[in-house]
Structure formats: C-alpha cells, structure tokens
C-alpha cells in the first residue's frame, strides 16, 4: 500500500470539494442573514432609537371609566402635544393632558411638547366592568439629534376592571412590528 502517493494525488480533488463546500456554506449563511439594507452606502447616521423605543407606549385601566395612557419618552426625544390623539371601540371623553413645555417654532409659532414620562387620563364614560377595549394612540415626535418620526398609531387591548378591583395591569403593544408592516 502506498498511502502517500495516493493522498497527494487526491489533494486537489479534496481541495476542490472543500472550496465548493465553503462557498455553499457562505451562500447559505448570507441568504439566511442578508446584510442590513444600505449597509454599503456611506450613511453616517446618528445613533438613534426606533420610534417604539424612543416613545414607549403603554396603557392600563384605572377603573371601569378611566384609562391611563403612558408614554415613556427617552432622554433627548420629545412628543408634540397637538399630535396626540386617542380612540377606542367605545366613546372616549376629553383626555386630561398635563401641562406641556413651550417652544418657539419659526414656522408654527408656539409649539407644546412633552419629555420624560407623559401620563394621560382618558375617560371612558360608557365603560363597563369586564369590557375589553382596543385603544389606539396617535403620537408624533422628534429626537434632539436631528430627526423626526412620522405620525404613529399604536394599539393595545385593555380590560376594564370590576368595581373595587383596583387598576388593571399596564399593557404594552406587541413588539417586533415595523410601523408599516
């Protein structure tokens, strides 16, 4: 038996097979995890949060007639007061918007904004204990870093608690969904 001569004649074939295997693996890898879009474009983007992280929305029912909506606004981000809006599959009363920060805007004049935690009480005059409400919240805000996010509509399902049961749990919208998906 002469393993040495046999193996040396096999090396190119083995190398060729290895090359094919490697390319196939690489192909499979990149198909499974394609690079982020525009990765090659010279886009020096500021470090920014996705809007649903910059303006974390949640809601709960305080009682059968009152919803509490929260926006936890990340540092360096702000929401516009006049772009906030709430609707549900039951009639809602006038939301109790807290005092906002005043800012002069060259085009719109005075604008009102919120930073930090924004808590809004929204009356549900026709609310019934045990009822499940689909609450939609519209909002729009910007980052001090120099970008603005388009108006967003987020939705949560809130169950109205029975009388004397106390406030319900805070509900957040489901994550991992793009705004336009």
């Amino acid at each position: 038996m002469t393993p040495d001569t046999r193996s040396s004649s096999r090396v190119p074939r083995v190398a060729a097979i290895a090359l094919v295997v490697g390319m196939l693996l690489a192909g499979a890898w990149t198909v499974a995890a394609p690079p982020a879009r525009g990765a090659g474009l010279p886009a020096a983007e500021p470090k920014l949060l996705a809007p649903e992280e910059a303006f974390r929305f949640s809601a709960r029912a305080l009682d059968a007639h009152t919803l509490e909506v929260r926006f936890d606004i990340a540092d360096g981000y702000y929401l516009y007061r006049d772009k906030l809006g709430f609707e549900a599959d039951a009639a809602l009363g006038t939301p109790a918007l807290p005092e906002a920060l005043r800012k002069h805007d060259a085009f719109f004049g005075e604008v009102l904004t919120y930073r930090g935690r924004l808590v809004v009480r929204v009356p549900v005059p026709s609310g019934v204990a045990g009822q499940s409400l689909a609450l939609k919240a519209a909002s729009q805000g910007c980052a001090d870093a120099g970008v603005c996010y388009p108006p967003s509509l987020q939705q949560v399902k809130v169950a109205l608690p029975a009388a004397g049961a106390g406030a319900g749990p805070l509900v957040e919208p489901e994550r991992k969904k793009g705004w336009f998906n």
């Binding site: 393993p3 193996s7 290895a18 490697g22 879009r37 996010y149 388009p150």
Partner: protein, 189 residues
Amino acid sequence: MLAPPDPDPAARRSSWRRWALVAGVVAIALIAGIELARYGYRAADEARAAAALLAVELPDPSGRVQRIDQWRGKVLVVNFWATWCVPCREEMPGFIKAQAASGGRGLQFVGIAVDKPEPVQRFASELGLNYPTLIGGLPAMVLSRELGNRLVALPFTIVLDRGGRVVATHLGPVKPADLHAIVDPLLQP
C-alpha cells in the same frame, strides 16, 4: 484502554496535513463567498433602490403629477422632509444655496414632503424654495424605507449620480461640507 500505537507515523502526518489544507480552503472559501454575496446584495439593493426612486410619480403642491426620472442625467439630491420636522426645515436653506450655486453644473434637488400640500406651499414660498418639492404623504415614508431609511425618520436624503446610481444616503440633516464632498466630484467643472 490504550489505543494501539499508529503503525505508520508518516501516513498519519500526511492525513493531518490534508485535513489542515481542507480546513484552510474551507475557511478562505467561506470568507470569499460571504464577501461576494454581500457585494452582490449591496449592488442589487442599490440598483433596485435607484430604479424605484426614479420611477416615482407624485403630485407637486399644485396637483400636477411629476416623475422623478424627468431629472435623470442630473446629479439628483432627493430629500424627504416635512414642515412638522424642524431639523428638515433647518437644513433646507443650505440646499437652496447649493441649488443656486451649482444648478448650472447639473445639480438638481427634489424634495418629497411627507406632508399636506397647504403647509408645504406656505413654507416653500416663505423660504423661497428654488427647487421642486413633491407631496408624498405618509406612503413616502415607506418608499424612503425601501431606499435605506432604516429608522423611517426624517430628514432622509439620497444622492444619485448622472447615471442614476445611488451614491449616498443619509438620515438626519446633511452638513453642507458633507454635501459638497459627495456632490462636487460628480458635477460638471
């Protein structure tokens, strides 16, 4: 239990060498394959983005439908903006200046406003906008995402060369110096 000693150390060495070679080739091929595929994705992405952008038809503030590819052959700077976006408004005087200075050398700005016609018209005349802006509304945000606007935020700017190829995309205000660095080499002398 001990394994019996290898009867042929020379054969063992050669088989070790063969496997080292195989591993090396697999590693190199893996890296080459990934890079090649990345390059392919990128090139295909950019070509798709540019074609999608040039095919866009949107109304101007007066309601007339305009096609982006009417400006093909120019160095095209397409800027997604809105009147409700302060950083967008703040960068536009720089665009107006660049359009006035380099329009004759083939530079063409086009705005796509994620907005309603009335505020756009009002802002354009207040500012003395010297380049066209089209009304995209919210669907324009979807378009900008396809062009690489990962966060779907404003302002977002994309530069195409005279051949309609994507040269740069940028989220956030574009610094005048950066704009010059990208655009100037593409303009007529």
